[in-house]
Amino acid sequence: MSRAREIAEREIRGLLEDMGREPPALHDVSVSYRECTQNFVVELFLTDGRRFGFTLPYAGSFGRHLLSESGFAERSVRDISDLYNRLAEDHLIRHDLREARRRLTDMARQGAPPHVLVALNERIAQAHAHAQRFHGVDAGRRPADRSSARLRGAEISHIACDEAAEVPSAVFEELRSRLDRDAADAFRMAVGVPSEPSRNITAREVQLRHAEMLARPSMVEWSRSIDLRPGAINWVGFSELYDPFSFGNVGTDEAQERGLQLLRSWLSPEQLAQYEKDRAFDVRGGKTGKRYRIRHGRQMNIDEIDAKGRRVCGWCFLPQGQLVAGDVMLAQKIALETDEERALAVANRF
């Protein structure tokens, strides 16, 4: 296993450097085999205390190669490439979700209008759900143990007592009706409310939690009602707010600029004008004629738009490899315009 460990460490370091991020200082790498599940478990321990782990099924070629020194040496480049590309995407999503929550906290502190905070919160919830479903990313959500089971209702009520000095009441009221637990946490931090001591939950809080759970679908409905028609939203400002979700932060500055130049040269004049104004552009599906809006970014950046200009759903697909945002958006545009069916067949809907 020492050879497996050595190669895993080298590959991962190289990958993170290629991604244009500071490689985390690797303290240790552990590769173990779980007989019961027939999985390899690879864990990376970073010097800053974070642990970064993933599992590999024995049935996979990577797993088989790990068992055999000679086989390991013969592993295919493609297997390794796919594995680490996936790992890199998961890493980016986790990072960007953290950034988004930090941004929400900052915005709440700065008194951003409630509809913007709620919209951003909705976006965070979507990204989190997507990351959990397709990337196995927990994204920093606290484990549901007894001490963290203090309720949103209780926490928000607590904010209600203390928020007046720093948080506009309209913001609070809007958030109170729509926020999910993570945003409530962020909001609590933003207004500097200390955590409540651990205690048992009350029957009233159980009822509150249940009511809020039932209200969740209405949040989704509300997000669909956002008016995305040109001019209805200041997309430049909106894009700035959503930058943490752009997933565009890979590659060097030079590579990113080169990718954007290529994108600009392939956009139609209308698309280019829209992109320069809004950092997003519309394309028509080559088969169905449906309208899609590609926002600046690498992942989760495609919205399907209905005839009234409202968001129907999101689509997520991208070319393999650590391509810069400009390249990814261009590939998405060409795929939707020329081979919509095939593109959506591989895409994840959110």
């Binding site: 590659g251 956009l267 004049p269 393999q320 490899g321 315009e337």
Partner: protein
């Protein structure tokens, strides 16, 4: 001069070739076959700003051919 644009982590890599040079065309065709065999999609366009078109076979007269890697769900 015709050019092949291959998307990669640097943004893109460009391979220009002389459409009048049989050897250069052979190399360009080999590149086309290799990339599409690896799962890359090749696209061309009639003019700047025009709607792109996916091509399945090598066209030595295309001014620009863009290659992007296989698409995956994100």
């Amino acid at each position: 001069m015709p050019v092949h644009l291959v998307m990669d982590h640097t943004g893109d890599t460009r391979h220009e070739f002389d459409a009048a040079d049989a050897k250069a065309i052979g190399e360009a065709e080999a590149r086309f076959q290799e990339l599409t065999g690896l799962g890359f999609t090749a696209a061309t366009r009639a003019a700047p700003g025009a709607t792109p078109k996916v091509v399945r076979s090598f066209d030595p007269t295309a001014e620009e051919t863009l290659f992007y890697p296989r698409l995956v769900g994100g």
